[in-house]
Each structure stands twice: as structure tokens, then as C-alpha cells.
Symmetry: C2
Subunit: 346 residues, 2 copies
Amino acid sequence: MTSKRVGRQTIALAHPPSVVSFANIGSKFEGEGPLGAYFDEVCEDSFFGEKTWEKAESAMQKKVLRRALERASLRPEELDYIFAGDLLNQCIGSSFGLREFGIPFYGLYGACSTMGESLSLAALLIDGGFARLAAAMTSSHFCTAERQYRMPVPYGSQRTPTAQWTATAAGCTVLAEEGPGPYVTHVTCGRIVDKGITDANNMGAAMAPAAYDTLSVFFRDTGTGPRDFDLILTGDLGELGHGIVRDFFARDGVDLGETFQDCGLLLYDREGQDMHAGASGCGCSASVLNGYLLPGMRQGKWQRILFAPTGALLSPTSSFQGESVPGICHAVCLSRERDCTPQEHK
Amino acid sequence: MTSKRVGRQTIALAHPPSVVSFANIGSKFEGEGPLGAYFDEVCEDSFFGEKTWEKAESAMQKKVLRRALERASLRPEELDYIFAGDLLNQCIGSSFGLREFGIPFYGLYGACSTMGESLSLAALLIDGGFARLAAAMTSSHFCTAERQYRMPVPYGSQRTPTAQWTATAAGCTVLAEEGPGPYVTHVTCGRIVDKGITDANNMGAAMAPAAYDTLSVFFRDTGTGPRDFDLILTGDLGELGHGIVRDFFARDGVDLGETFQDCGLLLYDREGQDMHAGASGCGCSASVLNGYLLPGMRQGKWQRILFAPTGALLSPTSSFQGESVPGICHAVCLSRERDCTPQEHK
């Protein structure tokens, strides 16, 4: 067992599982953003043909799983597991979106870290010999998130400058024992970190300490540093949270450099699209990973990516009760080459 | 890999992880019920010394983890993972209850199947060589569940005869590579099953098809039948759901017999305590497992238990939008002897 565990929190996978398929979907604003060309499907209708936004979010999960399966010529019954979750109360985006497939299902709640959590668990179960094929997926929807966490969209509430825009998007990755890559070489399970921030309109700042914690642990556990990766990506810290993580590392004498980016800063044109601090939501990092990063790795654009989405583990109720915002960050290391562990590059 | 996977959905663990500690906690009604003597702690105050019921639910999780760690003389930093979730929106019972421990955390949403889901994933990660020690836990609270799913408690709404009573309780199991048992020998990951039932006040009936599906799969995958187990326990189907599962099996010519029980029917004196169809909530099966079943197995009362809690994957929003209630059931086989697989008993 000790051969697999590296340091306190990181697993170096003995036989890194391969990405065998992926798909993403977005809506109007995602299609109009700088990554618009990297979406498999852009649906201008925020209802995705359904009667409610919650049903629309389920429809996104259904579509994105179906597309990922089709792309690899897989039937649903070939998948051993789905790991999925979303931001909706009781994760109904996932349960209603995936109920018709009949695939063994482990439901997750990791808030906006769900793409990292689902990918981690899918990779672990495959590497452990418990599955041949497993899907990892999640979604978010601007309108379902607004009315659940903030105000119903038709109220037209003014947003604070630190606010982020919940992506209307979903993404799905299918992993297998064997395949053309990229490969999941390492996973780091995050701890809950709460530094007492209570502003639910500044979730990037609340989640930044969790990102710093998990990335620091990853570098320490694996003996690597920022320069060992072509990209280090948080999920949806936005402008403020991203800057805070950079500052934290700078205090430690570590320059994260230009390779340190955030899916929430890539998804929209913040000026042109008036998106304030950037994108957020489970669907942000999921759609960026499954439309932009994984295809880019296959094309040779990046050799090694450290993908580390963060989640804010609050609810409207906890905020009303004066609680601070706990954060979590799950990191997944993706590599084009299976046998090329970060240590070997040092 | 094929040596570990049995049939479509079941994993026979190569080196079954051992239960090394457990703890439960309940409140007034749980303490007054027939299993009252099987609680480690009964707190008469439904606030557990906190200012809100949500904070009380977090306090239960904190207390129950602390007690399980103490019982095995473990420090939090010795745990490699916690798998936890609850019924509250965004699972704040778990995130706020566990934030101070600094233990790597994978958040789950399996509704009332969470004790089965968390136990399954903890066992798989240990058997796969990714962890030495992992905790599985969950909670529920009558007052937080009522105001979130139904009506605020002070309204005093009348309950339907099919309604169940959400247990105010929590339970935690700690698993390890080695130990005195009981051992987790098999896990079966459930599929989402939705037979179109829309009555959110009859969740036992909505979840019964999922229990039937997973139990049938388990028996088929392992080549066992009801008589190979000393107890077959669903989590919180209550009187109606429990009867439906028995009827489904009877139609297949299978008599589940007296060993088929339901944690929701064990926890309260339904007549004396006026609990209608029985107990429900994640904390129901979690507290029965960790206070009554695991100690009973250690004392030799039962050799082999099939523990199969079910979850109703609905939300108030999905019900308001006319949706039916999807269910899921995750099964875990617990045995006093490590090398004694059900097949060998046939």
C-alpha cells in the first residue's frame, strides 16, 4: 500500500487510468465567451427545451453523458460507475439527469470541486481494480443557482463587484483502465479549510485558502513545484481568489508564474461580457476541462496539467445563521504520458 | 481485476477491511425507543447545546466522530479519509461538523443511503491500497428535515399515516486494513430506480423498487439467497416500503423470511411513540448500524448481515415541479469472519 500513497494526502496511481472520452455543453454566454469554440454543444435556450431550469440542468447532464458515451462508442451498460453531483439542493441535477441510464451511481457533494472529486474517485476505483470504465461528471446552471443561493433571476438584483457568474454548463469525462490518454497519474484529496470569511458574495476569497492548502500538499507530497506543470488550474476562484492564492505562495517564496490559471477566468470575457470576478459553478471547471483542456492535451498543447477545482461548502441557511464559508479543493494530475511522473522530471 | 468483480455490480473485496471502531448518538425519542440502550449518547436537548438545529446536526457529527476515534485511541490525523454526507441542502451537517478535524474529506450525497455509500467507498479505498484507515458517517435531524422538506416544526402540521419520522441521530464507522472485525466482504453499488411514485409523503414505497433492485442484484452476483444471512436490513423503508419489497421477492418465489428487517422499523415503538410508518433519515440506519448491529456482531449475535440502506433522491423543488421520486440502494455485506464469503456457505 505504501507504494501508492505519497506523503499525507496524495495517491500516485500504480497504473494510471486513461481518459477515453469527454464531452461538454454550455449555453448562450459560454458560447459567446473566449472558449466558445471549445464547446461540443451550445444551447441558446437556457431551458434546454424543458419547462423549468432545474429540468434543464438535468437535461444538460443527460446530453453530456450521452455524447461522451457516443464519442467512444460505449453503451451505458458498459460503465461500471458514475460519480456525479451538482449544486442543487439534494443534487437533483444529477439524480434526475442520470436516472434513465441504469448505471451504478455514487452521488457526490463537493460543490464546485465536484469535477475534481468525481475524477479522483473514478480514477481510484479503476486503479484499485474495481472498475474498467467509470464516468465523472457535474453541471451548474446560472438560473437554478441564482434562485437557490441568491435571488430569483427576474428580480434583477444588482451584483457586487466580487460576485462571480455561475456557468450554465456541464462536463463529463470517461476513464478506463487502458486508453490513449491523458492519464490520471496522481490525486490529492482535500481537507475542509475555513478561515472565517463570511461574505457569500466573495466565494473566491473563501475558497482560496483551500486551494493553497491542497496545492501546497500536492507539491510537498510529490516533490514537485509549479514549474513541473504546463498548467496549474483552479476551478472557479475568479479574479480575487486567484490573486490570493498567488499571494499565499509568494509569501512562501514560490512564484506560481504564468502557468497558474483559473477556469473561472478563462470561460468568459470579463470586460466584454460584464462578468465581474469571473465564472463559477461546478459546470465551469467541468466544461473547461472536458472541452478545452483534455482535447488540448491530446493535441500536444500541454504535457502535464494540475487540475484543482475548489468548492465552497456553504448553504444559504448556514450564511443566514452567521456561519463562515468552509472551502475544499481536490487536485488531479493529468499527464499525456502514462509513465512520466512529475518526480522524474525534476 | 476480474477476480474482484462479481457479476454486474458487486465487488468481492480481496482483503476485507475490518471495522475498528464505531459510535452513535441520538436524541429524546431515539433514547425512549426499543433501541434506547444501544446509544452511546442520548441528548434530550434537540439543540445539542447549539443555537440552531442545523448547528445541532453538525454537533452530532462532531461528537460521533470524536467518540469513534477515542474508542479506538485514534488521532484525527491518522484517518486517511472521511466519507460523509447528510440530508441538509449542500450537506452542511457534514461540512460544518467535520471542518475542524483537518481530515481529507470526500463529500457524498446519497440521501438516506449515505451510510451504505460511505461504508462502500471507505471499504473500496482501503481494499485498493489507497488508505489504512477511513471513516464513514452520516446524520439526520427531525427538526432540520421537517423545515427543509415539509413544514417548520412549530406549525404543528398533521402527518399522513404513511409518513415516517426523521431520526435525530448520527453514526460513524471507522474501517482499517486489519482488525478484529466485523469485516466488509462485499459491496454492491446501486442504480437509480424510478417507478413513477410522486407521493413525497410515502417515501418507503418510492424507495422499495431500488431496494428490490440492489438486493436482487446482490443475490444474483454472489450466488446467495436470503437464508445465507442472519439479517438483511434495509435502512428506512418503514412499514409500507418494507412490505412492498417482501411482496416483490414473493412474486419471484423468494421468501425473505424473518431475517428481513428494516432499521426504520427497529428504532421506534411505532404504536407507543406514535411514529406512523417508522423512522427515516440518514441517521436512522447509521445509528442502528453503529449502536446495535456492529456491537451485536462482535458479541456473536449475528454472523453475517446484509446492510442495504435506501435513499430517495428527490428535493422539495423536484416535487413542486411534479417529478416522481427516484430511489437508490447501496448494499454492504458484513461478516464476523474475514474469509467466509457467502458463496462458501451454500
